[in-house]
């Protein structure tokens, strides 16, 4: 049975209270490595949001109409990855054609997010939580926006930190991880408002 949650609630919840990055800690590697630069962060956030929404929807269809009827649920990991990789590939070609400017802005990030665990994570959550198609769409979009917001926030904070006297041993990933920890704690503050599973 699908949970009885309004899609819009799910959208807000996935952005704030159960942010894919700061509550579930998914998609950390690109989050940490790219967040040094705001322009790149913006590009990557945009790419993640787009790919997340589209792959979430396609994976729901594949799950409901192929994997479940054929009793092949154990193949979901490999199938989801295939779908994600193919979608990214198609998207890359289409963007390259339609908007070279956007393609330039996204640069290498588009192929890079094939291996971003947040993308696979959202598809797996959608499966575990039995979301409907509409719920999946809003959940995927929300997770993407949440990821985008988090990386923009982190890169803004990093800009400030760049001018701060950070102890030598903590420079780089060290202080970044501590920052993410604080951000995660701040986001826990939202969790009283909405609880979504």
């Amino acid at each position: 049975m699908a949970p009885d949650i309004h899609p819009f609630t799910l959208l807000l919840a996935s952005i704030f209270t159960s942010n894919i990055l700061l509550a579930n800690f998914l998609g950390m590697c690109s989050f940490i490595s790219i967040s040094k630069d705001m322009t790149s962060s913006n590009g990557l956030g945009m790419a993640v949001t787009g790919v997340l929404t589209i792959t979430g929807m396609i994976n729901w269809v594949v799950l409901k109409y192929v994997l479940v009827p054929l009793d092949l649920l154990y193949l979901r990991f490999i199938v989801f990855i295939v779908v994600i990789a193919a979608t990214v590939q198609v998207l890359e070609m289409v963007i390259d054609r339609i908007s070279p400017t956007l393609y330039m802005a996204l640069g290498i990030f588009l192929p890079l997010i094939t291996v971003n665990c947040a993308i696979l994570g959202v598809s797996l959550f959608m499966e575990i939580r039995n979301y409907t198609f509409i719920q999946t769409t809003f959940f995927s979009l929300g997770s993407g926006l949440g990821w985008w917001m988090a990386i923009m926030a982190l890169s803004a904070i990093q800009k400030k930190i760049a001018n701060a006297p950070v102890p030598a041993g903590l420079k780089g990933p060290g202080i970044t991880l501590i920052t993410i920890g604080f951000m995660a704690m701040a986001f826990i503050g939202f969790s009283g408002m909405l609880i979504v599973q």
Binding site: L72, V82, A86, Q89, M93, V94, R97, M104
Partner: protein, 369 residues
């Protein structure tokens, strides 16, 4: 038969997406016919879009120099693109200076032909052709240098002495890609149906290993050229040429070309450095040339001659010999430096030249290693 369901499902999903990708690729990457306008209407090419500019041009018979064959690792295929093709790509930036970027210089191998383009390339490149030749002769000059003579048949090659060509190395053994390497031509411009190169075996070198171990007389080889602007200047200054090893090649071409054309009024000094007797070659030929040409002076030097005392010529590092000659023999006059050899040698010679009061812009060399 149940066990087939899983593999078949995976296969059909993957196959379906693969088909989707190729269909999208076919439609999306079809840029139709585009026109490439080179050097303000000097040449207009009607081509299919979608490929890189470098391969598109070479399939139309215009060869922009490229030592790596289009993988974006040498930075040689620079050309000026007048049409706006978007900002510089991260793959181009490491090979371009700020001035070049401001001047719309791009790497041809990184630019995809998507629309009508207008570009500017040096006029000499129109003269560049791909020659399909046959190895006529391979001679062992020393233990590690071979003279390779290629017959290009009906075709003719027009070049200034000192130019270089790119040898196309087919895949062999563990090397799976086609490679291209640049070699100076040692043949004379008057012989338009042959290309001669001097190739020294570099341990681990892709092209040199191929030439030294696999290439045989009678084999078919592809050569692209001529390229480069290493040539003698049109002045009357004394030419001070310095070479080592296979750096002999361009000077062999330049010297015999000058002699053939009776351009013998100019004072020419040719310093050739080697380690031991067994690294020397063309000694007799160049001494014969010296006999016939009074303004030409050939100075071979050995840094480690054997102890038998048979060696009558100069000894010491070529830079020391050069320094001594510049100070004591050649003296202070209008001089120009010409160099061919390893980057280390070129650097060291540049230092000797400048210490002896010569301008850097009067010193010429090709900067490929």
């Amino acid at each position: 038969m149940n066990f087939l369901v899983a593999p078949l499902t995976i296969a059909s999903i993957a196959g379906g997406f693969a088909a989707l990708i190729s269909i999208v690729d076919k439609h999306v990457n079809d840029y139709g016919d585009v026109t490439i306008n080179i050097n303000s209407d000097k040449k207009n090419l009607d081509v299919r879009g979608g490929d890189s500019l470098l391969t598109t041009l070479s399939s139309e018979g215009i060869f922009i120099p490229s030592a790596c064959g289009g993988r974006g690792s040498c930075g040689a295929c620079k050309c000026k693109i007048v049409t706006d093709v978007g900002p510089h790509l991260p793959t181009e930036v490491p090979y371009l200076t700020k001035e070049e970027m401001g001047d719309n210089i791009r790497l041809a191998c990184q630019i995809k032909v998507k629309k009508d383009l207008e570009l500017q390339i040096p006029d000499e490149l129109f003269n560049v052709k791909q020659f399909i030749g046959r190895v006529e002769k391979i001679v062992d000059l020393t233990h590690d240098i071979k003279e390779v003579l290629i017959d290009i048949g009906e075709e003719t090659i027009d070049f200034d002495a000192g130019a270089y060509v790119q040898l196309v190395v087919p895949p062999y053994g563990k090397i799976k890609d086609i490679n291209q390497r640049a070699y100076s031509m040692s043949s004379r411009p008057s012989d338009k149906s042959h290309i001669e190169m001097l190739i020294r075996l570099v341990p681990g070198g892709i092209a040199t290993t191929w030439v030294h171990t696999l290439l045989k007389e009678g084999d078919k080889v592809d050569v692209i050229g001529p390229f480069g602007d290493f040539r003698k200047s049109e002045t009357n200054s004394a030419m001070i040429c310095v070479a080592g090893g296979s750096g002999m090649a361009p000077f062999k071409s330049i010297l015999y070309d000058m002699f053939e054309k009776n351009d013998t009024q100019r004072e020419v000094w040719y310093f050739f450095g080697a380690r031991t007797e067994k690294d020397l070659f063309y000694l007799q030929e160049l001494r014969d040339l010296q006999e016939k040409w009074s303004n030409f002076h050939f100075v071979p030097a050995l840094s480690e001659p054997d102890t038998t005392g048979k060696w009558q010529g100069e000894t010491g590092l070529i830079t020391d010999v050069l320094d001594r000659y510049l100070k004591e023999v050649i003296g202070d006059k209008e001089r120009e430096g010409y160099l061919c050899g390893s980057p280390g040698m070129i650097n060291a010679c540049n230092n000797v030249f400048t210490e002896n009061g010569m301008d850097l812009d009067k010193i010429y060399y090709d900067s490929f290693a």
